[in-house]
């Protein structure tokens, strides 16, 4: 797993972005960038060469699930791994995220260990 990979953290709460960034840094990833919703994230994704997206679901503007669908529909970005870190906990939501092509799903409140495990699992698959 490339520790230098460029990660985009999308969440409308700045404190949550800070927490995720801190956890990622603890895991050795310090090349992290932030966006506060899908609308802000989309141009960043298009112009930057992001390797990984960690996104919340429920955000004003464009939601995380819409951002995921947009990424999967884009010829250049569709292969980007996306991890959903969200408070949304309905079964049909998780199924919807899976159908939209999410690579991992972490429910809030979450632990550092859970985030680490999901990220490792995603890159085992991507790299392997």
């Amino acid at each position: 797993m490339n520790k230098n990979m460029k990660i985009l953290v999308v969440d409308d709460f700045s404190t949550m972005r800070r927490i995720v960034k801190n956890l990622l840094r603890d895991l050795g990833f310090s090349n992290t960038h932030e966006a506060d919703d899908g609308n802000t994230a989309w141009p960043m994704l298009q112009s930057g060469d992001f390797d990984f997206v960690v996104t919340d679901w429920n955000m004003p503007g464009m939601t995380g699930i819409d951002l995921l669908k947009k990424i999967r529909a884009d010829e250049r970005l569709k292969g980007t791994p996306v991890l959903m870190v969200t408070a949304e906990a309905k079964r049909d939501q998780i199924v919807a995220a899976a159908q939209a092509g999410v690579n991992g799903y972490v429910v809030k409140p979450f632990t550092a260990a859970a985030l680490k495990e999901k990220i490792e699992k995603i890159f085992e698959r991507v790299d392997g």
Partner: protein, 301 residues
């Protein structure tokens, strides 16, 4: 007939006597759901008392008259009797609509949105007040989270630095124990260890101070808890008034024969997001990360 009417009125009287103290206790203890249920029971008792009994008395009387007149072939006066029955029915309807309108009016008054402009401002300000209070909760929790994150972010590299310095010195120290150190190296280590003690002392104090500040940053819980309790109280009050209002409105609809089209309300778009699920035991909700993982693996993840 009059006796029967009296009996029903007596039933309502008894129900009122019995339920009024219950209602009072429920309201005093803030059990609004139960209080509303009691009110509904009373409402039913009252309806049974005032309901259609007068109309049915007229109906019975007039029906007998109508029968007699038709038997006697008095078609014209039979039609008059029919008209009288019709009138009695309308009167009952108007009375009932009138009663419900008054009830609706009082429910609306209790809801603080009476036509009196002063009261309306007050009700609005209560809502604005609630919104302001919640805004305050967001501010406090955000401030506490940021303060805590700042202090943690400052402390982590300090602790990491101490750890790596201790590890380095330990390696050197082991060489000293193994008598594997030159005199020069020993002198250097001597002062390094001395410096490390100073470093540990001052930086531990820093970290201790940060931990203490993090502790203090949790003081928002007390304030936000109080604010949220007050807003919850207001929401419960509003709900109780709304339930009353809906009940009255449904009665008016029933009596005036307004028919609702059966289109169900639009289901909320789940894909928009619903926020945290408070009831983890609900059937369509996952309780924890393990549930999510199980669900995803059942989908072939």
């Amino acid at each position: 007939m009059a006796d029967a009417h009296k009996q029903i009125a007596l039933d309502f009287h008894n129900a009122l006597k019995e339920l009024a103290p219950v209602l009072l206790t429920q309201v005093e203890n803030d059990h609004m759901d139960e209080a509303v249920a009691t009110l509904v029971t009373l409402q039913h008792a009252r309806q049974a008392g005032s309901g259609d009994s007068e109309f049915s008395a007229v109906l019975k009387e007039k029906a007998a008259e109508l029968h007699r007149r038709i038997e006697a072939g008095e078609v014209e006066s039979a039609l008059d009797t029919l008209q009288e029955m019709q009138d009695a029915r309308d009167r009952g309807l108007y009375q009932e609509v009138g009663r419900l309108t008054r009830a609706l009016h009082s429910a609306i008054t209790n809801f603080h949105i009476d036509s009196n402009p002063n009261e309306r401002v007050e009700a609005l300000s209560e809502m604005t007040d609630a919104t302001d209070r919640l805004e305050y909760v967001i501010q406090l929790t955000e401030k506490a989270a940021n303060t805590t994150l700042d202090l943690v972010e400052e402390s982590m590299p300090v602790v990491a630095g101490l750890t790596s310095e201790a590890t380095r010195l330990k390696t050197e120290w082991k060489r000293l124990v193994d008598r594997d150190l030159s005199a020069d190296e020993f002198r250097s280590l001597y002062w390094e260890v001395d410096g490390f003690f100073d470093q540990v002392t001052s930086q531990s104090q820093n970290v201790y101070q940060h931990l203490s500040d993090i502790l203090m940053a949790q003081d928002f819980q007390d304030l936000t808890g109080q604010v949220i309790n007050r807003v919850t109280g207001l929401v419960k009050e509003v709900e109780a008034s709304l339930v009353d209002l809906v009940f009255m409105a449904s009665q008016v609809e029933e009596i005036t024969g307004i028919v609702r089209d059966g289109t169900p309300e639009k289901e909320t778009d789940r894909l928009k997001g619903e926020g945290p699920q408070i009831n983890k035991a609900a059937e369509d909700v996952v309780a924890n990360q393990d549930d999510v993982d199980d669900l995803l693996s059942s989908l072939g993840f």
